[in-house]
Amino acid sequence: MGDLLRLTKKAIKGHAFLFYFSFFLQFLMVLGVVFTSFMSKVLVDALLHNLDPATLDPVSKLVVNMLSFGNGEEFIYSHMYVLPLSLLLGAIYIFLMSLVRMLSRFYVTNAMQKGIQVLLYNHLVSLPYSEYQNQKSGDLIQCCTRDVDIVRRFLGFDLNQLTYTVFMVGLCSGILASVSWKLFIIAIILFPFLFVYSFFLIKTVRKRYRATDDAEAVLMDTISNDLNAVRLVKAYAAENSECERFDREIGEYEARFISWRRLSSFFFASSDIFIFLSRTVAVIYALFLVFSKEITPGTAVIAYTFVNMMVWPLRNTAMRISALGQTLASSDRITLFLNRPEEDRLNGDKAPFGQLVFDNVSFAYPDQKEVDVIENVSFTLNPGETLAIMGKTGSGKSTVASLLMRLYEPTSGKITLDGKDISSMSKKSLRHHIAPVLQDPFLFSKTVSDNISIGMEMEDKETIEESAKLAKMEESIASFAEGYQTPVGDKGVTLSGGQRQRLALARALATKRDILLLDDSLSAVDSKTDLAIRKGLSENGRRKMTIIITHRVNTAKDADKIMVLDKGRIESLGTHEELLVSSKLYKEIATIQGVFGEGVK
């Protein structure tokens, strides 16, 4: 509960006036509704000339005074038109109140939801990378979307429902009690039962609903699994058993649905008894009171209408309150999510650019501390130079890249840029020096052009096209239906592995950052294109610094330095020529590739 309140407070911030004002308007509206309903009583009593102030209840007295401008009941008897006129004015008042109230309420709840959503998204995107790997993506998505919706429902709907009921029940009971406390007691005698009954029964209904929902989810999983594996099902001639399984699951679903619906129908039908019985008992008792001259016939009218106006909101509120558990769970999840520490990207010195040094760097994953992924890696790379990193799968090549970008922090040793430890720099400014191309690049479902320009400080068409050209992507792009404006992904063109890599390369090049980091990023590109790309890159004026992680000797051989990693350690470090002599592993790789590749000179 505390979490929900804190979250509510957070959401109200900045919208407090309108938020509370909408409740005030709601009160004014309910007041209007109660007033016009009360007019039925005054009307009946006026017609029967029953408005004698001596016997009249205080509220009626007040209304009579209002309608007669203080002239008493005789004025009303002779100016009966004030009754319909006041009804009409009351209606216009209610119309204006509910209109303004709803507009302001809708406005403020949506503004509040926007606030929470923005808060959550900004938090999501600021989480450290490791958090994404620890969390199930479905949970994160649910927190940012469905849970927010549930909280909005609470702020925009449930709270309103609650206050509406409080205002309505408060005003109606107050007036009813002031007219006749006996009638009041008889009228509300069933309310507590209605409330408690609804609250508890609907809880069970909801439980069964969830069971039904789960069964339906199973059904949907089966459908989507079957459809996604249509080839397999057909090849294994499993159509029949699929149908049988589906029928079984439908049977299960139907059984749960029936048990749910049986109870929910029973709930609505049975709780109606309280509602209608309250009304009937109130009217019969009112009749008795009229008979014994304790109340006027007009009061019998409001016994009916007031009870009617109270019971429905009461039942709804009981239902909503029993659903509060769901809201609490959502707000708990949101709070938990917001409490995860954000990655500190902004604090720290501004990163300079200069000589890059890895000084005895080791790294192990937090959950596997005993296994060093890389161990005592040291190298120096000067601006203008290119470093190639080679090694077998699992040798720690990519870890070097992750550490440089500070997606992870070294367990020992340090990395410096221009003589300064990168751990003292702000991650943001550090990463603004690096243009990475990952092995399995992620492309956004935007246009080709937007995908290229996404990392640029300022978008300009020239740079976009130039980068595409350098990445040898221009021909492919020209072949797409809408060229640079073709959407990538579901709604547009499906790219091959090589095209994806080249597009990611163009994206990195377009950033014009100092360090180009290619993490096995041309692995799906054939060697001819690979060569052409590298040629283009070196002709395009030397980049300030390039790190290439690769498995191809041909790609590596022109680098100023080649580092061969084996099980996380540096096996050898040197130029192509040096390694051909000094490194056993490099020589072996070169021989294999030399036989089948373009040859090692």
Partner: protein, 642 residues
């Protein structure tokens, strides 16, 4: 950025297509009794709500306004005068009156139960029937259908559209009868009481009846737009999570936040825009009703009007209650109509699915002998020897562009063939033809010297094993997954198959062993482990002919090595066609086909083709480069073994 991108809203249809709704209704005719119960009760409920209870209450109020009659009378002797429908009038003592009221309430309660329950049950039955029919249809449909319609499209039909159809046919149909009943009983009641005021209320209905659909339609459309904006946001959040590494490493956080801000603002605007209409709608209806009330009260108070304008206070109150409730049926009718219109496009798509043509069917004689997919006659299935012959086989899709040019090929029993070539060269099509996912448009495929159509689909597929690129496991237990290969496989058989491909030890090490439940997408198994289970599944099937569609994506080296070992086990002793991507598979094949643009350009063993220095040689070289260093070493080893 994305905030700007608008959504293509599906427009509402112009015309109501009743035929389609009756068609679905006919499909559920076995359960129509539920619907009838719901309709009948809804009419009775309308009667109780808009005639019985209001008229009885009016009688009570009327009596109240005339009390007390005589001072010495007992309260229970008071007569309550009820004016009922069609001018029927009667007097009741307090006790019978009370009992009738309570009785009416109890009956209503029972009716409500029947009404709610059976309309829901009918909706469920409709949905189940539609889903069952759709699911069966999907099983029957030929492969070409799935080329044209994505799984996502079909899921949307089976999930959302079917449940909407169920709702329409039950809730909307029931509430249609309720609304009509309510209107009619209200009008009858009003006319029974006073025709002048009844006519005034009736006169106001058309005005409101025009206004309501306008609002309803706008509300529906605008809320749809807002919902779409929201689902766009869900997609955006998902992308943020799956693209986290890219966002972090390119330092795109600020940009993403700004974009999210745009999208969220877009949702907010669209929601407020939709809700604005809601804010006007019901207050406006209330205002009209209250105006009408004021008019009635005003007229009833005039004493210069003809006699039939004169009503008692109780009747005035009765009319007030009628007026405030009379618009509800209109709102509900209009709502139902909007919902039907909104659902029509979906219903038509479901009908399209049901009507889709099944392209590949067996002849009646073949079905007679070997059964159909739902009733295979397994007793007649004799294992194939496994000789496959393509005789002048050619193939084109519906667009008539030939993708496989006529070719001849005879594969002797037990031969392992590898087909290589670029994407789009026709490799997969060849495999699809052999599985009879498609049929050749020219020539014939013979198995054991007999045209393969003569075996029929169930028989043929029971003899062909198929392992696809990406391992697919169902979210069932491991054992259940294995049984896809052989329905009644024993525990021993399963273990043996798993042992052969080298996954048994792993499975046995799991706490629940073979009964381990695999979650969505295979749960916590690695890609390689999943693939091995798929291999074991194929092995259990023990097919005469095996088709292996190798994965292009690279797995880590040690996995690659044990997968290769498992593949060797799988291919042993049977005819196999491998759409080969792993050079390690290719180099050991007894026959390699090089395909390009639907033709076989080269044919031979690895050594022969390498010596030829043609297409294969070049392909091999470029493929080799893409391999990781470890795999390059592995392939070299295998070549030398040969």
């Amino acid at each position: 950025m994305a905030g700007k991108s608008g959504f293509q809203e599906e427009a509402l249809p112009d015309k109501l297509n009743l035929k389609i709704w009756f068609r679905f209704l006919a499909l559920a005719k076995g359960d129509i009794k539920h619907l009838i119960k719901a309709i009948v009760t809804s009419i009775f409920i309308a009667f109780i709500d808009s005639s019985l209870l209001p008229l009885f209450f009016a009688g009570a109020i009327d009596t109240a306004s005339k009390l007390p009659l005589t001072s010495e009378a007992q309260f229970l002797d008071v007569l309550i005068h009820v004016k009922f429908l069609f001018g029927i009038q009667f007097d009741l003592n307090v006790l019978p009156f009370f009992l009738i009221m309570v009785g009416g309430i109890l009956v209503r309660c029972v009716l409500i139960y029947i009404n709610f329950y059976f309309s829901q049950i009918f909706a469920m039955k409709v949905v189940s029937t539609l889903r069952r029919t759709g699911f069966r249809k999907v099983q029957e449909l030929s492969f070409s259908y799935f080329d044209r319609n994505s799984a996502g499209w079909l899921i949307a039909r089976m999930q959302g559209d079917t449940s909407t159809i169920g709702d329409i046919l039950s809730s909307d149909v029931t509430s249609f009868f309720w609304a009509i009943g309510n209107l009619i009983f209200s009008l009858i009641s009003m006319y029974s009481v006073n025709f002048v005021y009844a006519s005034i209320v009736l006169g106001a209905l058309p005005l409101v009846a025009i206004m309501i659909p306008f609002f309803e339609r706008t509300i529906l459309l605008r809320h749809r737009i807002a919902r779409n904006a929201h689902s766009h946001y869900v997609g955006f959040v998902a992308e943020t999570i799956s693209g986290a590494k890219t966002i972090k490493s390119l330092s795109l956080e600020e940009k993403s936040s700004a974009e999210a801000g745009d999208i969220i603002e877009d949702i907010r605007k669209k929601r407020v825009r939709a809700l604005r209409v809601n804010a006007f709608f019901s207050p406006l209806l209330d205002l009209i009703a209250s105006g009408l009330t004021a008019l009635i009260v005003f007229l009833s108070l005039r004493n210069d009007l003809p006699e039939f304008f004169v009503i008692t206070p109780a009747i005035t109150v009765l009319f007030i209650s009628f007026v405030s409730a009379i618009f509800q049926p209109l709102v509900s009718l209009s709502e139902s109509f909007s919902e039907i219109m909104a659902a029509q496009a979906g219903a038509e798509k479901v009908a399209q699915l049901f009507d889709a043509e099944v392209k590949i069917v067996d002849s009646p004689e073949v079905i007679e002998k070997y059964g159909d997919i739902f009733n295979p006659r397994k007793e007649n299935f004799v294992p194939f020897k496994g000789e496959v012959e393509f005789k002048d086989v050619s193939f084109h899709y519906d667009n008539n562009i030939e993708v496989i040019h006529p070719f001849n090929l005879k594969i002797p029993e037990g031969t392992n063939i590898a087909i290589v070539g670029e994407t789009g060269s026709g490799k997969t099509t060849l495999a699809n033809l052999l599985c009879r996912f498609y049929e050749p448009t020219g020539g014939e495929i013979l198995i054991d010297n007999k045209p393969y159509r003569e075996y029929g689909i169930p028989y043929l597929r029971s003899q062909i094993g198929y392992v696809q690129q990406t391992p697919h496991l169902f979210p069932l237990t491991i054992a259940e997954n294995l049984r896809y290969g052989k329905e009644n496989a024993t525990k021993e058989e399963m273990e043996e198959a798993c042992r052969k491909v080298g996954i048994h030890d792993f499975i046995a090490s799991l706490p629940e062993g073979y009964d381990t439940h695999l979650g969505e997408g295979g749960g916590s198994l690695s890609q390689g482990q999943k693939q091995l289970i798929c291999f074991a599944r194929a092995l259990l099937r023990d097919p005469s002919i095996l088709i292996l569609d190798e994965a292009t994506s690279s797995v880590d080296t040690s996995t690659e090595a044990y997968l290769q070992k498992a593949i060797d086990e799988l291919l042993k002793g049977r005819t196999s066609i491998t759409i080969a991507h792993r050079l390690s598979t290719i180099v050991n094949s007894s026959l390699i086909l090089f395909m390009e643009n639907g033709s076989i350009l080269e044919k031979g063993t690895h050594k022969e083709l390498m010596a030829k220095k043609g297409h294969y040689y070049e392909l091999y070289q470029s493929q080799f480069e893409l391999l990781s260093i470890d795999m390059q070493m592995e392939v070299r080893n295998r070549e030398n073994k040969d």
